[in-house]
C-alpha cells in the first residue's frame, strides 16, 4: 500500500495496472474464477481423452509435442464452445462477404440460442436471489417452475383471448402457482420452524411426481401423444419471436424483455421499497431486525412468496416462449441451475442477469462443442466448468488467498447459515 501511495509517479502505466489488478474486486475474482474453471475443464478433457492421455507417456521424450497436442485439443474445444455460444467467425465472414437474410440468421443463431436459454434462468435466478438476500435458502426452484408452468398451461389452453389479455393472464397464473408452493414453505418456516431447505427440496420431488400424474389425466394429456406431452399452448398465448421473419430457428422471444423488466423491478425492490429493505435487514441481522420492529414471520412469508412467484414466471416463460407444451421432465434443470446463477451473480439483479447469460452461453456452446469436436467432448463439461466457476465466485476467499489478492475482505461475507431453526 505504502509503495503505491508514495511513489505513483515512478511506475509506468502497465505496472500500475498490474498493481491495481492485485487489488481484489469482483471483476478480477470473476476473471480468475473463469480462468480456474477453464484450466480445470482443460485438465478434464486431457484426462478423459485416451489419445491425449497416452501421449503424456512420452512427456519426457517429446515434451513440446505432448503439451502442444493437449493444448490444441483443449483450445479447439473452447473455440467451439465460444463460437457455439456467441458468434461463429466463419458465418460472420460469410455475412460480410455476402450480406443476406440467411447469413444474418446464421450469425445470430448462437447468440439467440444463448439468450433464449438464459431467459427463464434470469427470472428464476432473480427469484432465488431474493431468498438468498434475506438468508432464506429456497432450493425448491424446480418445483416452483413446474407449478408455474402447469398453471400457465391450464390458463393457456382454457382461454383463447387476444394475446394482450391472454399473456398477462398466463403470467398471473404462473406467478400464483409458484407463489403458492413457495408460500407454503414460508408459512411452515414461519410458524413451525420447518427448515426451508428441506421443505422446498421435498416439494421439488413431489411436484415432479404430481406433474407425472397430471400429464396422464385427460385434462392435460394430449390425445395420442407418445412422449407424455401435454396439450399445446394456443397461438394467442405464445410469446412472439423477435426474428421469426429471418429464420424459424431464431427462438429469441418477448420473454427476454419480460426478464429484463423483472431484473429492473427486483433492483427497484431492493433499492427503493420498504419491504425490500426489511427483507435485506432480516437477512443480514435478524436480531437487529426484530429489535427494529420488523415482524420476521411476515417477512419470511413475503420473501418466499415473491421468490416463488418469480420462479413460477420462469416456468411460464419456458412454456410459452420455447416449448409450448409440457413434458414429464419440464423445466430441465432450471431450478438447480438458478441456484448457481444466483450465487454466481452474488444475488444482485444485474449480476444474476449476466450470470444467467453465462449459463445460457455455456449450455448452447456446450452443445456445439459436443457436436463439432472430434472426440465429441460431452456438453456436461460445460457444467463442470460452471460448477468450478461458481465454487470460486461463491467462496472468493479461496481465490483471494491463492492469487495473493489484496484487500479482499469486503468480498468475503462470513454470514452464518444460521443452522436449521
Amino acid at each position: 500500500m505504502t509503495t503505491t501511495a508514495t511513489q505513483p509517479a515512478r511506475l509506468g502505466p502497465l505496472m500500475r495496472l498490474a498493481l491495481r489488478a492485485r487489488h481484489a474486486n469482483m471483476f478480477i475474482v470473476l476473471v480468475l474464477a473463469l480462468f480456474v474453471g477453464l484450466i480445470f475443464g482443460g485438465i478434464m478433457i486431457v484426462v478423459t481423452t485416451p489419445i491425449l492421455l497416452n501421449s503424456w507417456s512420452h512427456a519426457f521424450s517429446h515434451p513440446g509435442a505432448t503439451i502442444a497436442s493437449s493444448f490444441n485439443t483443449v483450445w479447439f474445444a473452447y473455440e467451439q464452445l465460444f463460437q457455439g455460444a456467441v458468434v461463429n467467425f466463419h458465418a460472420l465472414r460469410m455475412l460480410i462477404d455476402n450480406p443476406s437474410k440467411v447469413n444474418l440468421a446464421t450469425v445470430l443463431t448462437p447468440l439467440s440460442g444463448t439468450l433464449t436459454y438464459a431467459t427463464p434462468l434470469i427470472v428464476a435466478g432473480l427469484g432465488l436471489a431474493i431468498g438468498f438476500r434475506s438468508s432464506l435458502f429456497n432450493i425448491g426452484g424446480q418445483g416452483q417452475v413446474v407449478a408455474g408452468g402447469v398453471l400457465a398451461l391450464l390458463v393457456a389452453f382454457s382461454f383463447h383471448l387476444t394475446p394482450l389479455v391472454q399473456v398477462p393472464l398466463e403470467i398471473l397464473a404462473a406467478m400464483l402457482g409458484g407463489a403458492l408452493l413457495a408460500g407454503l414453505a414460508g408459512v411452515l418456516k414461519a410458524y413451525t420452524g420447518a427448515h426451508e431447505v428441506i421443505v422446498t427440496m421435498m416439494s421439488n420431488y413431489t411436484m415432479t411426481l404430481v406433474l407425472g400424474y397430471l400429464l396422464i389425466q385427460s385434462l392435460f394429456a394430449r390425445p395420442g401423444a407418445r412422449d407424455g406431452a401435454s396439450k399445446a399452448v394456443g397461438a394467442t398465448g405464445q410469446l412472439p419471436y423477435f426474428f421469426s421473419h429471418l429464420s424459424a430457428s431464431l427462438l429469441l422471444n418477448f420473454g427476454f424483455v419480460i426478464a429484463v423488466i423483472a431484473v429492473i423491478a427486483v433492483q427497484w425492490f431492493f433499492k427503493r421499497s420498504k419491504t425490500g429493505f426489511e427483507l435485506l435487514m432480516v437477512g443480514q441481522n435478524p436480531d437487529a431486525a426484530r429489535v427494529a420492529g420488523i415482524f420476521s414471520k411476515r417477512s419470511i412469508i413475503i420473501c418466499l412468496t415473491l421468490a416463488g412467484s418469480l420462479l413460477g414466471l420462469a416456468g411460464m416463460l419456458e412454456l410459452t416462449g420455447v416449448d409450448h407444451f409440457i413434458t414429464p421432465n419440464f423445466g430441465g434443470s432450471y431450478g438447480f441451475d438458478a441456484i448457481t446463477v444466483a450465487l454466481l451473480g452474488r444475488n444482485k439483479p444485474w449480476g444474476v442477469f449476466f450470470g444467467a447469460i453465462f449459463f445460457g452461453a455455456m449450455f448452447t456452446g456446450g452443445e456445439a462443442m459436443q457436436a463439432f469436436t472430434p472426440t465429441n467432448i460431452q456438453f456436461s463439461l460445460a457444467q463442470v466448468i460452471q460448477a468450478v466457476v461458481v465454487f470460486c465466485v461463491a467462496t472468493p476467499a479461496l481465490l483471494i488467498e491463492a492469487f495473493r489478492l489484496r484487500d479482499g475482505a469486503h468480498l468475503v461475507s462470513t454470514t452464518g447459515s444460521g443452522g436449521w431453526l
Binding site: A194, I198, I339, I377, A387, S417, G419
Partner: protein, 499 residues
C-alpha cells in the same frame, strides 16, 4: 430462528417442551387411528389378505418351527434374560447402558417373541410350501385403529415423556403395515418379508447419510453436501471394482475409496467453512452441483464408451449363521449384503464415539458453545475438521451402497435426493445416531413400500405417483414440527471466529 428456540433452557421449559411433544405425538397417533378405523376398517367384511412370510419349515431355524418348541424358547429366553438383567444391575450402568437403547432392543425382541406364537396359532397354513397367514382386512383395520387411538389418548392425556417417540414410531409403522394389508387385499399374496428386507436395504444409504449429518452437525457444521458425497462414493467404488473386475479384496478397497472420496469433499467443505468461514449451506450446495456435473460428465464422456469400467458387481450377501434362520427377522436383518451390517456397526460406533468418549464430548461441546470450548483449551477448528471429514467418510461409504449394494452400474442421478432426505432423517432422529437409525428404517419402509406397490396397482384407489411422493411428503410433515419442537446443536452452521 424463532424466538421460542432461543428462550432460556430451564428444567421447567424442558418439561413443558417434552409434554407438548407427548401431546402432539398422542394427537398424531389418534388421527392415525381414526384413519385406520375409517379407511381400512370399512373394507368389505369378507375380504382377506394373505401374508407370505417367505420361509418354509425346511429353511427355518428348527427351534421355532413348532409352537411348543417356540414356547420353550420364549420362556427360556425370558427367564434367562430376567435373570441376567437382575444379575447385571451393578454392571448395567457401565457396560450395557453404554449401548443406548439396549432396553428398547430387548423390549422389541421380547415383543416379537410374544407375537410370534400368536401368529403361529392364529392361522398359518400348515399345508403349503411357504408359510402364509390369512388376515381379515376390516378386522385388522378396526383393531389397529382402536389400539392406535387408545395409545394416542393415553399419550395425550398423561403426557408421557419417555415412551413418546417409541410409541409414535410404532404407531406409524403399524399404520403403514395396515396400509399394506389393505392394499394387498383379495388377490396377490403380500410378500411381507421381501418388502421388509428391501426396506432395510434401502435404509442403508439413509443410515449412512443421516449418521454423517449427525457427526457433522454435532460439531456445528451443516453438511448439506451429503448428496454429492453419495455420488462421489457411488461412482468411485463401482469404477474401482470394475477396473479390478471384482477380484480379491477389490470391493473392500472400493468401499474404502468411496469413503476417501466422501472424506475429500468433507475436507473441502471443512476448509471453506472453517478456514474461510464461508456460508456452509452455499458451499454444500455448490459441492453438490459440482458432483452432479462431474458425475454426468464422467458417465457420458468415459463410462458410456467403456462399459467394462461400470459393471455390475454386488457386495456379497452374508447370512449370519443361526440368526438368519429366524422367521421374518432373519431374512430382514441377518441375511443382507455386508454393507447393511457395516451400517448397523457404524450407528453403534457413532453413538459410542459421540456420547461415551472424550472426543465425542468435545465434538458436542464445540457444536453447542464453541467459545466456551475454546476457553477450556479445545481446538475448535481442529475438532470440527475431524468431525466433518469423518462424516464425509461415512457418507462416501453410504454412496457405495447405491452401486455395490444392489450390484448395479452407476447411472446419472441415481442418488435421487436421498442425501437431502438423510438430512431430514437426521432432524427426525434428533441429531442422535440411534434416532437416525430408527427414522431411516421408517423412511426405508416407506420407500420400499412405494417401490413395491406397483404390484398391487389395480387395487389402488390412490394414483401411484402419490404413493411414490409419500417419503417426500412425510419428510415435510416431519420437519414441520409434527414431531414436536426440535433443538439442533446451538452453534450449528455458525462459523467460528477465534478471538
Amino acid at each position: 430462528m424463532s424466538t421460542d428456540s432461543r428462550s432460556i433452557v430451564t428444567l421447567e421449559n424442558l418439561r413443558s417442551v417434552s409434554r407438548t411433544r407427548s401431546l402432539a405425538y398422542g394427537i398424531t397417533l389418534m388421527v392415525l387411528g381414526v384413519l385406520e378405523f375409517v379407511w381400512y376398517g370399512s373394507a368389505a367384511s369378507g375380504l382377506h389378505t394373505i401374508i407370505q412370510f417367505g420361509y418354509n419349515t425346511a429353511t427355518v431355524w428348527p427351534v421355532v418351527s413348532s409352537p411348543w418348541r417356540f414356547l420353550l424358547l420364549f420362556f427360556g429366553v425370558a427367564i434367562i434374560a430376567l435373570a441376567l438383567r437382575a444379575a447385571s444391575v451393578p454392571l448395567y450402568s457401565r457396560l450395557v447402558a453404554s449401548i443406548r437403547g439396549s432396553r428398547t432392543m430387548t423390549a422389541l425382541i421380547g415383543a416379537y417373541l410374544v407375537i410370534w406364537p400368536v401368529l403361529l396359532w392364529a392361522g398359518i397354513n400348515q399345508g403349503g410350501q411357504l408359510r402364509t397367514m390369512t388376515i381379515p382386512v376390516a378386522l385388522t383395520g378396526d383393531v389397529f385403529g382402536v389400539l392406535s387411538i387408545a395409545t394416542g389418548a393415553v399419550l395425550a392425556w398423561r403426557r408421557l415423556d419417555r415412551s413418546a417417540s417409541g410409541l409414535l414410531f410404532t404407531g406409524l409403522f403399524v399404520f403403514l403395515l395396515g396400509f399394506l394389508i389393505w392394499v394387498a387385499r383379495g388377490s396377490l399374496d403380500l410378500q411381507l418379508t421381501a418388502i421388509l428386507a428391501s426396506a432395510v436395504a434401502v435404509s442403508t444409504f439413509l443410515i449412512f447419510g443421516s449418521v454423517s449429518g449427525t457427526l457433522c452437525e454435532r460439531s456445528g457444521v451443516v453438511n448439506i453436501a451429503i448428496e454429492g458425497q453419495f455420488m462421489a462414493g457411488a461412482l468411485s467404488s463401482i469404477v474401482f471394482t470394475s477396473a479390478l473386475q471384482g477380484t480379491g479384496l477389490s470391493k473392500t478397497f472400493a468401499l474404502l475409496l468411496a469413503g476417501l472420496f466422501g472424506a475429500l469433499f468433507g475436507w473441502i467443505l471443512a476448509v471453506m467453512a472453517l478456514r474461510y468461514q464461508a456460508n456452509q449451506i452455499i458451499v454444500g450446495v455448490v459441492i453438490v452441483a459440482f458432483c452432479t456435473a462431474m458425475s454426468q460428465f464422467l458417465v457420458t464422456q468415459v463410462l458410456d464408451l467403456r462399459q467394462n469400467l461400470n459393471g455390475s458387481y454386488g457386495l456379497p450377501v452374508w447370512a449370519v449363521p443361526g440368526l438368519s434362520r429366524i422367521p421374518v427377522i432373519g431374512p430382514v436383518l441377518f441375511d443382507q449384503n455386508v454393507l447393511v451390517f457395516v451400517a448397523f456397526a457404524i450407528v453403534i460406533m457413532a453413538n459410542f464415539a459421540l456420547f461415551r468418549t472424550r472426543w465425542g464430548l468435545r465434538v458436542r461441546s464445540v457444536g453447542e458453545k464453541p467459545i466456551a470450548s475454546e476457553t477450556v483449551g479445545i481446538n475448535v477448528v481442529r475438532m470440527r475438521y475431524g468431525a466433518v471429514i469423518i462424516g464425509g467418510f461415512v457418507a462416501g461409504i453410504g454412496g457405495a451402497g447405491f452401486t455395490l449394494g444392489p450390484g448395479s452400474p452407476f447411472t446419472y442421478g441415481m442418488t435421487s435426493g436421498y442425501g437431502y432426505i438423510a438430512l431430514a432423517i437426521m432432524i427426525f432422529g434428533r441429531w442422535r445416531p440411534y434416532g437416525a437409525l430408527m427414522a431411516s428404517l421408517l423412511f426405508g419402509f416407506t420407500i420400499a413400500l412405494s417401490a413395491n406397490l406397483n404390484l398391487y396397482l389395480q387395487q389402488l384407489v390412490i394414483p401411484q405417483q402419490f404413493i411414490s411422493a409419500l417419503p417426500y411428503l412425510i419428510t415435510i410433515v416431519v420437519v414441520s414440527g409434527v414431531v414436536g419442537r426440535i433443538r439442533p446443536p446451538a452453534a450449528d452452521g455458525v462459523p467460528f471466529e477465534r478471538r
